[in-house]
């Protein structure tokens, strides 16, 4: 192995001195091995199903300490690399050089930094591989279907089984059930169970004009609003509907259950903009998927097939065991709780958690319903269904998340910045680098002080914003002008400071220009659509340059930065050749 490395190293030295000097081949090789190790760590990280029950398992890298290992490995790797890199410097020794050769060095630093700091991706990809293989789509579809079918019998929360939850059959899917005693019209048909009241209403809708945004809190009495094709639609209670002939019992019943236990991405975020809560009674429009689920569930319990219950609950217990979900249910004990005859009243409540229910003194006002609810709570049975939900959510998230989205920009810019610093150190000197840092800090303080003074003299925040931006722009333009045209006219050390600030500051300079354009566009937009009542057009929004570039502004700036360094390498060569004094 040592012989092989020596031979390859010599071949690199003789054929590609820049690659040999930057050690990019070895750094990439070592990084690749480390990436593979992190990938393997990611693969085994979720082998214990319990690890999937944690919140946001996809960020396992940050939660379980791997980030510390990764940071330490990166630092160690980069320090060793820097020691090795600093051994030779063809540029400082005036060996033949060119713009391309110099740029190759910068590119190598950038790639090395990127390769040595992105173990997060390998680790997370490892997790994704494991989850994708172990929890493939076919299995997940089956598991979710089984979980959703068994979920009505988890019997955790009695409110899920109350009459107001009944959304099937027709007309319940189109009705709104008021439960607050203050809103119940006793002269109209209503239901009552242990001090809980249920009264069903039809809905009336109102569409608001196309080009004006209305704050839902300003519309009194609306119970739901949605935005479709830019139109805001508000729903209001209309008239009481008599549903007596459809309701078999006003007591909590399995028949009333409507909630899909796990509904993928839709589970967390409703497709509707806003859910109005009336006395803590959420009202949402029922979805097709939900309706299908309710129909299936109601059909299942209407069959009253004990064998089918037995099979369903048994299969679920097996599934729960596979996912290491805490529970102490057996098929038999659970069947005794879940299986009921029409009207499918709730017999017992199973505690949601990883331990049995412990009775505690309640300081809340206990009405009849609460007393009833407490009487149903089982002191022995528990099921940690929440962890199962979390596991399913994590699996979905790990499988579908594009891990590069967003975070890649952090790593790219970090690599670019550090590559710039190393490049500066390699082309100038430590003294020049330190002076450049000091000069930059002084410039920032100067801008801050002048801005503070300006703000003190003219108390108008928008003006200060523009003043700072334009002042910085002028300063940046001056620095860049000297860095491009005036290096030979100033002292070599001073020239190097301008050069260094230009290398690191070019991208912020372009970004500043974008921000100035964007701010002007935004201000123009506000001016155009301001109607005196602080209401703005929500449909025909102004497209600013940053909106247009979207997240691609980051890539565009990075490309601009890299291109700048490529072009600027010629000036660096010129500066280096310049005599002192």
């Amino acid at each position: 192995m040592k012989k092989f490395i020596t031979a390859k190293n010599q071949a690199l030295l003789e054929n590609h001195p820049t690659l040999w000097n930057t050690k990019i081949v070895w750094m990439l090789a070592v990084s690749l091995i480390l990436h593979f190790l992190f990938y393997l760590m990611g693969c085994v990280a979720l082998m214990n199903p319990e690890s999937l029950q944690r919140y946001n398992a996809i960020e396992n890298f940050f939660g379980n300490g791997v980030i510390l290992i990764s940071v330490m490995v990166s630092i160690l790797l980069l320090v060793l690399w820097l020691i090795s890199l600093f051994r030779n410097n063809a540029f400082k020794n005036f060996y033949p050089n060119s713009r391309v050769k110099l740029f190759k060095q910068f590119a190598s630093y950038f790639i090395i930094f990127l390769a040595a700091t992105t173990f997060y991706y390998s680790y997370t990809l490892g997790m994704q591989t494991y989850v994708t293989l172990n929890y493939n789509d076919v299995r997940m579809e089956k598991d979710i279907a089984l979980t959703n079918a068994a979920a009505p019998f988890f019997t955790h929360d009695l409110s899920r089984y109350e009459l107001d939850q009944l959304r099937n059959p027709n007309p319940f899917d189109k009705l709104y059930c008021a439960t607050a005693v203050s809103t119940v019209d006793v002269d109209q048909p209503y239901f009552e169970f242990k001090d809980n009241y249920y009264q069903f209403y039809s809905l009336r809708k109102q569409v608001y004009p196309f080009d004006k945004y209305v704050d839902p809190s300003d519309v009194t009495g609306n119970i739901l609003n949605e935005t479709i094709d830019g139109k805001q639609i508000f729903y209001f209670k209309d008239e009481v509907i008599d549903v007596n002939r459809y309701v078999k019992t006003s007591a909590p019943s399995y028949y009333n259950y409507n909630k899909l236990f796990y509904n993928g991405e839709e589970d967390e975020y409703s497709s509707y903009d806003y859910q109005y809560r009336d006395d803590y009674n959420p009202f949402t429009k029922i979805t097709k998927k939900q309706k299908d689920f309710i129909e299936k569930h109601q059909a299942f319990i209407n069959q009253q097939d004990k064998e089918a219950y037995n099979e369903l609950l048994g299969d679920f217990i097996e599934l729960a065991n596979d996912y290491s979900i805490s529970h102490n249910l057996t098929t038999k004990s659970w069947l005794d709780i879940a299986y009921t005859e029409s009207p499918y009243k709730i017999k017992k409540i199973i505690h949601e958690g990883s331990y049995p229910y412990e009775y505690s003194v309640s300081y809340q006002e206990e009405n009849d319903f609460v007393v009833y609810e407490n009487s149903l709570k089982s002191r022995t049975h528990y099921l940690d269904s929440d962890s199962l939900k979390q596991s399913l959510k994590n699996i979905d998230e790990i499988k579908t998340t594009n891990i590069f989205e967003g975070t890649i920009h952090i790593f790219l810019w970090m690599a670019f910045f550090f590559a710039c610093i190393v490049f500066i150190f390699r082309t100038t000197s430590l003294k020049s680098l330190l002076f450049s840092i000091v000069a930059s800090v002084l410039l920032i303080i100067l801008i801050g002080l002048i801005a503070a003074f300006f703000g003190f003299v003219i108390d108008y925040s928008s003006m200060i914003q523009y003043f700072i931006m334009y002042f910085t722009l002028i300063l940046g333009t001056l620095i860049l002008t000297v860095a491009f045209l005036g290096l030979s006219k100033v002292n070599k050390l001073v020239g190097s400071i301008f050069m260094n600030i230009a290398i690191v500051g070019f991208v912020p300079y372009i970004f500043l220009i974008l921000v100035i354009i964007d701010t002007h566009q935004n201000d123009w937009c506000d001016y155009q659509y301001y109607d005196g009542y602080q209401q703005y057009n929500t449909v025909d929004q102004c497209l600013t340059i940053m909106d247009y570039l979207d997240i691609y502004w980051s890539y565009a700036l990075l490309a601009a930065g890299v291109l700048f360094i490529f072009l600027y390498c010629k000036n660096i060569l010129k500066w280096r050749a310049q005599p002192e004094g």
Partner: protein
Amino acid sequence: MSLYLQRLEEVKNFFDNKDTVLGYRKLMDCAMDTQDMDIYKKMIALTDWKEQHVNDETGLISRSMEVLSLLKTKKVEPTSAQGPVITASDITKTYGRSGFQLGPVSIEIKKGHIYGLVGENGNGKTTLLRILARELSNTSGSLNYVFKEDITSDYDLRAKLVYIPQRTATWYGSLKDNLKFVLSNYGVAPEENETRVLMMIARLGLWNYKQLKWSELSSGYKMRFELARTLLRQPEVMLLDEPLANLDVLAQQVVLEDLKSICNSVVNPIALILSSQQLYEVEKVSDKVIYLKNGQYTDNNAGFKGATLDQLIIEIDSTSDREAIKKAFENLPIEKLVYNGGVYLAYFTGETQFYRVLYALGAAQIEVTYIRNISSSTRRFFVS
């Protein structure tokens, strides 16, 4: 007979006289002039053998003769005579705070010539070298550079002007890799890289030191490795600042002889400017000695403040007193006898011969510990 063949003949004479050390070095110079990798490899193998058979002089001579006969079969075209590489016209450098001014200096630096730059500390030697090397800007005057290939940029010019400062930077990593790195940067074919490096290591007597670390080398060998690195660049001009500092007398002689020999290469003659305090040694190898005092310039062919070329100046160190020496010279046309605290300086008229001075001292039985004719040496500027 071509210059190359003359050199080979010289090498033969060295070996015939069993002057193997010098002969072997000259043999390597001739081998390097061929630029033939097969010859290089033969020399490398021979050097390796030589280092393993240190006491086998006969073996070395016979093997060297074999290589020599091979070298005779090679055709080496000498580089045609060229004009100066560097032409400095009235260059000056003024330092604002100290008020020190160098120059004006006008000088032409030609390939194949060695220029010794001497003077006391703080008289502008390093400044002049750095100006010529474009390390430092000159206040006035002009500098013109002419190389075999056109200068494409300022950086290219700096790459061609090889300057070694007095304090060279530390080398890190393998010494051989450092040398190979030079050649690969110069675009030398990979298959020639190792051979050229080993040849240079052999030529500069570094064969047994190539595996060491920089920190394990003595100052002399560090300078030799630095020279090896520089010579691998095949420079047309070399500017060395105090290369002899920290070297013992023998090492100084060897380094200077090597430099002279390499700079006089048939194929790649080099213009060499070196600054030094070692007057005698530098004068011995230099084609021209440049003397700087308080920034003012003169050379060994010019007069300088009170001393003229039509004088015989003798430097004498003796245990005898001044009167005894004066009495010894009473029959000679002596102009003055000066004691500078360490040695006596006797100034005679220009027609006086040195042997007559020696005769007079011998006749008067003066105890002489050191005597030297410094009439044409810049030493006369130092000691006066």
